[in-house]
Structures are given as structure tokens and as C-alpha cells.
């Protein structure tokens, strides 16, 4: 906050007396917030604790005994949920904030222990028999329930990741980029379906105003899955790869409209990058298959230069268009 600047503006008559008072007050009374530092310490502490306990249990599993561990995990889980149930603010279809920062992490701990508990049951006592799908389905349902009941973004992301896992796809941020698990036709189509489903949920959340603030998370996951599945389809199906341009174009257009509607620069950037990757892949393959010698390299370079310039112009235009309302 640049106080001399505001004083100068006040002198020029651009800011009223009451405004300059408010500015000075804010600058003087600004409290030093250690909120994010504390959150980080808490998060790291939980990470260390769960990791350490996990290794401890693993190393001593013979001496401790399964039932004792099961009971301990169950107790911890129940304890966390009891705490959350008592502390939470009343349910509403709009955003319900957490009563304090511990609430978020206790809820997280509770959900984690619950999943561990169920997994343990399945593995040790085959509680679900051979219905492996069921074993992933139930934790997912529970996670979705928790995320809506307690209103927690982190659990939502975990629930979506579990949904993907149930459908056979890994969608945590890092594993997306490895993309090695997309080398299978079934998974590609599953990915497309998942992407569509997530986007439909996002749209539904906004329409019915049920936890509309979850919309961004759903759309984000949905968009990335959809694009990656589409591009994977293009890379995988050698014979028909240009055909994949059609669904790609459709998805790009959908998110273009959405980006304009929500004034989101982030979506605009992503659709540009993904779309450009798709088009470039098709063009380069056509060039390489068509022209057989050094000419191909020249053509490829010229393509990149001209298309690159085209994309730059496009982004600049879009920036102007979106600037009118500003958001992420």
C-alpha cells in the first residue's frame, strides 16, 4: 500500500476525505496474518504423522495384530467424524464455510481413515468377496456424500479422483501427465465419458444452484480429462487420426463459449493449448506422410511459424474480449 501515492491522489481531488481516512486506517491496522504458514505446518504435520504411522504399522503388523489395528483405525475415524458433525455449520445448498481451519483437516483425516478401514476390511477379510468394483465404489460414494454434507473442496477432488479410479482411469494431476495408462482404447472412451459426466455435473450444479462453487473443480477435471482423452484417441488410432479433430473441435468450441460466459482466462489458455496441440499433430503427420524429404522439414517449420503467429493474434484478441469482466 503506497500511502504517499494515495495522499497525492487525495490532493488532486480524485479521492474523497473519507476514502483517504479508510486507506490510512487499513495501512496502520493491517494485522500480520500467519494463516497460510500455520495451515502449511498443519498439513505437513498430518502428512508426516500418517506416513510415520503407516510405516510403523507395516513394520510391526505381526506383533500388533489385525484386529487391534482395525479397531484403532475405526476409533480414529469415528472420532474425527464425531468432531466434524458437532462443529459443522448447518447444511445449505450454498457455500458453507468451515468453522475453523482444523475442521478441514480433521475431516480429511476422517475420510482417509475411513477409506483405509474399508480397504483393510476388503483385503484382510475379503468383506466384498470378488466384487472388486464394489470395493472402489463404496468409498467413492462415501466421499461424495461427505463432500456435499460438509462442504469441503479437497474431499471433492479426492471423490472425483476415486470416480476416475472406479472407471479405471488415474486422474490425479501428476499421473495425468504421465498418460501412459491411456494406451488402451477402452480407457480412452471411458475418459471421454468421464469428462462429459463431470461437465454435466458442473452445469447441473450451476443450474440448480447446488453447491455452485464446486463448479470450477468439476469443470477443471472434466475439461482436462476430456481433452487428454481426445488427444490420446488421436495419437492411438493411427488409421483415423484426422477424424478425432471433429470431437476435439466440438470440445474446444464448448469451452470457448464457456470461457466467454465466465470470463475465464484459464479456460481460454487451456483450450488454445490443447486445440493447438491437436491441430499441429494432424498437420505434422500429414506433412511427414505427404512430403518425403527435406521439404517436409521446411514445410513443418513454416507451419509452426505461421500457425504460431496466428495463435498469438488469437490470444491477444481473446485477452481484449475477456478483459471486460475479469476472473480466473
Amino acid at each position: 500500500m503506497n500511502i504517499p501515492l494515495f495522499e497525492q491522489l487525495h490532493q488532486e481531488g480524485l479521492i474523497s476525505d473519507s476514502s483517504i481516512q479508510k486507506v490510512k486506517q487499513k495501512a496502520n491496522s493491517s494485522l500480520f496474518s500467519v494463516h497460510w504458514e500455520l495451515k502449511t505446518i498443519l498439513y505437513l504435520g498430518i502428512l508426516l504423522l500418517t506416513g510415520g504411522l503407516g510405516i510403523l504399522i507395516y513394520k510391526n503388523i505381526d506383533t500388533i495384530g489385525h484386529q487391534a489395528i482395525l479397531a484403532a483405525i475405526g476409533l480414529l475415524c469415528a472420532g474425527c467424524f464425531v468432531y466434524c458433525e458437532r462443529k459443522k455449520l448447518p447444511f445449505a445448498t450454498t457455500k458453507v464455510p468451515a468453522p475453523n481451519s482444523f475442521f478441514d483437516y480433521i475431516l480429511l483425516l476422517g475420510c482417509l481413515t475411513l477409506i483405509t478401514f474399508i480397504t483393510y476390511l476388503q483385503v484382510q477379510y475379503t468383506a466384498f468377496g470378488n466384487a472388486y468394483g464394489l470395493a472402489t465404489f463404496i468409498p467413492m460414494v462415501i466421499l461424495f456424500f461427505c463432500t456435499y454434507y460438509f462442504d469441503h473442496l479437497g474431499i471433492l477432488s479426492m471423490a472425483i479422483a476415486n470416480l476416475g479410479a472406479w472407471m479405471g482411469i488415474a486422474i490425479t494431476p501428476l499421473s495425468i501427465f504421465k498418460a501412459s495408462n491411456f494406451a488402451d482404447a477402452e480407457i480412452i472412451f471411458a475418459g471421454l465419458l468421464l469428462g462429459v459426466v463431470l461437465n454435466v455435473i458442473a452445469w447441473g450444479s450451476k443450474q440448480r444452484n447446488i453447491k455452485a462453487h464446486f463448479g470450477f473443480t468439476y469443470t477443471n477435471f472434466g475439461m482436462n480429462i476430456l481433452f487428454i482423452a481426445c488427444l490420446a484417441g488421436m495419437f492411438y488410432f493411427d488409421n483415423f487420426y484426422p477424424l478425432w479433430l471433429l470431437p476435439l473441435a466440438g470440445i474446444v468450441f464448448y469451452f470457448y463459449k464457456k470461457s466467454l460466459a465466465t470470463a475465464s482466462f484459464y479456460f481460454m489458455l487451456m483450450l488454445t493449448l490443447y486445440g493447438y496441440t491437436g491441430i499441429s499433430y494432424v498437420m505434422i503427420r500429414l506433412i511427414i506422410d505427404g512430403v518425403k524429404d527435406l521439404g517436409a522439414v521446411y514445410l513443418a517449420l513454416m507451419y509452426f511459424i505461421s500457425s504460431g503467429i496466428g495463435m498469438v493474434v488469437f490470444l491477444i484478441k481473446m485477452n481484449k474480449k475477456l478483459k471486460i469482466n475479469d476472473s480466473i
Binding site: 482417509l112 477402452e186 481460454m268
Partner: protein, 389 residues
């Protein structure tokens, strides 16, 4: 000295301050609009995401053009190639100056890309023309270039690069001078870092340097980091080991090595204390991060407890500290609070936080199950990617 138009930058800064004040309801919308009318923003400075996109695309375009140039001239010898690279870098630089002067670009992604590309090409050209250049000469080259770029364009990362290359000059320049220099090196680096930190603190808020403010902040942070790292026991021992060819075995130490335990343990505590005392967020955070360095350094040389017990106890301690400080600060005390700062820039952090949580914990749960139960078949790790569970 700065290439961008002074007035335009000032207007830009003014409007940023106005936006901040408007967001916190300190001034009214009409006042903000009035400010914008009187001091119009005429630099082209797009949104961050657009900036990233433009940066990537510009880099692609320039590299492809360079590729085309290379193909067309089919330069054979390294010297010819080097001259081509040098000419190309000058062309890029000319384009950069043109864009800034005539199209008023400012941190638009395009000028960022051109800055880094022209720097990269000059360095490559020099390396091609003088293949046996030493580290010392590289450091001098990079220092001169980075300093020029930071003064001319106020590019934040260039500032960091200039500082690091300066340290490189000191390091590579004095090392050949003999054993005395090598022993004194950690202390010398610490003194230089402290001096740079002090200078940045003193003059960072100077109004004449207002366009370089973020640069100064970055150099401040880097100076604090280097100050600690240069005195850290682990770093000193390992680097001395390789420099002096000591072939130290486990348990052995460099002569007089014990003295480095003092800064290793004390400095982060000093940082945190001064950070709280001066309400300086940079000192505080750097200190907290280096607490982890203390733990790591001690554990590396003295095995105090098996890993899982240390982790569990460490985790419990951190949770307890976090809990008690939160309770202590619940009515804000001494100007500190644990509540969220109402900063518009921080809004995106919540989304990021949820992604980080998913990434770490989603892999922990099934992977822990893996380790615990000695799973024969099925790979639960990686989020249950495969169809078979």
C-alpha cells in the same frame, strides 16, 4: 535506463494500487474510475494465463524461425554457426525494443520470451565461438548480460540470475587461488549475501527504484537463502569433500567443521525471531523452511531415531504447535492473527490447495494399503489406474 516508458509504468502501478483499494472497499468505484481516467493505462499487459500462452507461443515461433535460418544457411563450422546465432540474437533484441517502444508491451509474455531468448542465444553464440570457455568466464558473461537485462527491463528472474552469477564470479574466481581461499569461501559467501540482503532491505523501498521493487524482493529472498546455505554444515562438508578431494568417510569431518553447526542451527531461529519482531514475512517464511534443513542436516549425520518414529513424533509436534498457536492468536495478539488475509491474489490458493491435497493423499491411501497387506496381485498405487484392483 529502463526501456519501458516511465510514465506508462507509473500509471500502471497507480491503477494496480487503485484496484487493490477498490477490492477492499477503501475507495468507491467512481473514485477508481476517476483515477483511471486521469492516469490512463496505455501499456499492453495481459492476464497471467494469456501471458503464459503468449510466452510459450513466442518461444515456439522464434525457435522455428531459427531452425529455418539454420536450414537455409546450412552453416558448417562452429564459428559460422556461432556468428549466425549472434546475429539472430541481435535481431530478437531489436524486435524486443521495437515491441516495447512502439506497441507498449509490458510483461506481456512476448517481451518476457524475447528477453530470455535473446539472452540464451547470446550465451550460446559465445560458447560456440569460444568453445573452451571456463566457468569463471561464463559467470562473468552471464553476470554482465543479466545485469544489463535487469536494469533495462526490470525482469525479476534476470535479477535473480545476476545475483547468482555474481556469486559464481566470486566462487570460480577465488577457488584457483589455493587452499586458503577454499577454506574462507563459505564465510566470504555469507558475508557477501548478508551485505546484498542489507542493501536490498535499505534501498528496496526507495521511490527512485520503484520499477525494480519485485526484483529487489527476489534478490532479498535469494540472499537470505544463500546466506544460510553457504554456512550449512552439510553443504560445506560435501562441497569441500569434492573440491579438496578429501574422500571423507562416514563420521569423518573437515577440519574445524564443527564451527558450521552453529549457523546451521542458529540462523533459521534468528530468521524466525527477527521475522516476528520486524513483522517481515520473507524472514519468517525463509526461517520456517530452513527448520526443515536443520532437521535434515542433523539426521544425515547423526541417526537419532528410526525414520517412522521420527516422522510420527515430528508430525505430532507440528500438529500440536499449529493448534496451540492458532488458539493463542484467536483474539489477535501483538498484531498477529491466524485468520485468513483478505487478499484477492490469494483466492486461487484454495483451489490449488485442494489439488495438492488430492495428489498427496490420493496416492497415500491405496499405496499404504499396498505396503500394509503385502498385496500379491493388483497395483493399487497411482490411484488405482489399472482395471484390475
Amino acid at each position: 535506463m529502463i526501456a519501458y516508458n516511465h510514465k506508462s509504468l507509473d500509471h500502471f502501478l497507480m491503477n494496480e494500487e487503485a484496484k487493490f483499494a477498490l477490492h477492499h472497499n477503501l475507495i468507491s468505484k467512481e473514485e477508481a474510475d476517476g483515477i483511471e481516467k486521469k492516469y490512463p493505462v496505455n501499456v499492453y499487459s495481459p492476464n497471467l494465463f494469456i501471458r503464459i500462452g503468449l510466452f510459450l507461443l513466442t518461444a515456439v515461433i522464434v525457435l522455428m524461425v531459427f531452425g529455418l535460418f539454420c536450414l537455409m544457411t546450412l552453416a558448417g563450422s562452429e564459428t559460422k554457426f556461432g556468428i549466425l546465432t549472434l546475429v539472430f540474437s541481435l535481431l530478437i533484441y531489436a524486435a524486443l525494443e521495437y515491441l516495447i517502444r512502439n506497441k507498449n508491451h509490458y510483461r506481456s509474455g512476448i517481451d518476457d520470451a524475447l528477453i530470455w531468448l535473446s539472452m540464451g542465444y547470446v550465451v550460446s553464440a559465445v560458447n560456440l565461438l569460444f568453445p573452451s570457455i571456463s566457468f569463471f568466464e561464463q559467470s562473468v558473461l552471464i553476470f554482465i548480460l543479466a545485469s544489463y537485462f535487469v536494469l533495462r527491463f526490470g525482469n525479476i528472474l534476470m535479477g535473480g540470475l545476476a545475483f547468482i552469477s555474481f556469486l559464481g564470479i566470486v566462487f570460480y574466481g577465488l577457488i584457483p587461488l589455493g587452499a586458503m581461499a577454499k577454506t574462507a569461501m563459505p564465510f566470504l559467501l555469507m558475508v557477501i549475501s548478508f551485505f546484498v540482503y542489507w542493501v536490498m532491505r535499505k534501498h528496496g523501498n526507495n521511490n527512485r527504484l520503484r520499477h525494480y521493487k519485485t526484483c529487489c524482493t527476489l534478490i532479498e529472498i535469494l540472499a537470505l537463502i544463500i546466506l544460510y546455505v553457504a554456512g550449512n554444515y552439510f553443504v560445506v562438508r560435501e562441497v569441500s569433500n569434492s573440491l579438496f578431494d578429501l574422500y571423507l568417510k562416514e563420521g569423518e569431518s573437515i577440519p574445524g567443521g564443527w564451527i558450521f553447526w552453529i549457523p546451521t542451527i542458529l540462523l533459521p531461529l534468528v530468521y524466525i525471531f527477527r521475522g516476528i519482531q520486524k513483522r517481515d514475512v520473507i524472514l519468517l517464511r525463509t526461517g520456517l523452511i530452513f527448520i526443515a534443513a536443520i532437521v535434515f542436516t542433523i539426521r544425515y549425520y547423526h541417526h537419532i531415531a528410526p525414520l517412522e518414529i521420527a516422522m510420527s513424533i515430528g508430525g505430532i509436534i507440528m500438529i500440536i504447535i499449529s493448534y496451540f498457536i492458532t488458539k493463542y492468536l484467536t483474539p489477535p495478539k501483538y498484531g498477529f492473527t491466524h485468520a485468513e488475509p483478505n487478499d484477492p491474489k490469494v483466492a486461487g490458493l484454495l483451489q490449488l490447495e485442494s489439488l495438492v491435497v488430492t495428489q498427496t493423499f490420493h496416492q497415500t491411501a491405496p499405496a499404504e494399503a499396498d505396503k500394509q497387506f503385502d498385496f500379491g496381485d493388483g497395483s493399487g498405487g497411482g490411484g488405482g489406474a489399472t482395471g484390475g484392483y
